[in-house]
Subunit: 92 residues, 2 copies
Amino acid sequence: MTEAPENTVFVGNKPVMNYVLAVVTQFNNGQKSVNLEARGRAISRAVDVAEIVRNRFLNDLKVGAIEISTEELTSKENEKVNVSTVKIPLNK
Amino acid sequence: MTEAPENTVFVGNKPVMNYVLAVVTQFNNGQKSVNLEARGRAISRAVDVAEIVRNRFLNDLKVGAIEISTEELTSKENEKVNVSTVKIPLNK
């Protein structure tokens, strides 16, 4: 993934609420849209983050067109590995 | 989730290729669209299934508008639990 624009939150393996807080903070600081991005098993967590933000914090939030794709990574053993990715646009 | 229509594949905890096979079989049997549905941690696997089917088996496959939502389930301890769900429409 190239250099991320400011309004992108990469979801990894931290607790869900870390990312929920990051998203809510961005909207409170005036962002009109925030993109959640994740790979592999963190994709489920990214969906959790989107759902928690919109159900418990920002009820008027809209989920844009969700994109899925595949990225080719190089593993530690120098092998090519395909991993799924997701991008979830959240818009006020 | 109510009674599933015939062209729905629920992704759970089985190996990814089980679901890839189920989807490819449906299209080979003449279905024009197949919906992948999953909950919780299986959401990542559902995205894997969609990506493997379209990258390795049916290159002309289109991914429709992906929907995410939250379902309230009752746990074994009779507690209300929210779980994220995803629906990934695959269209020929």
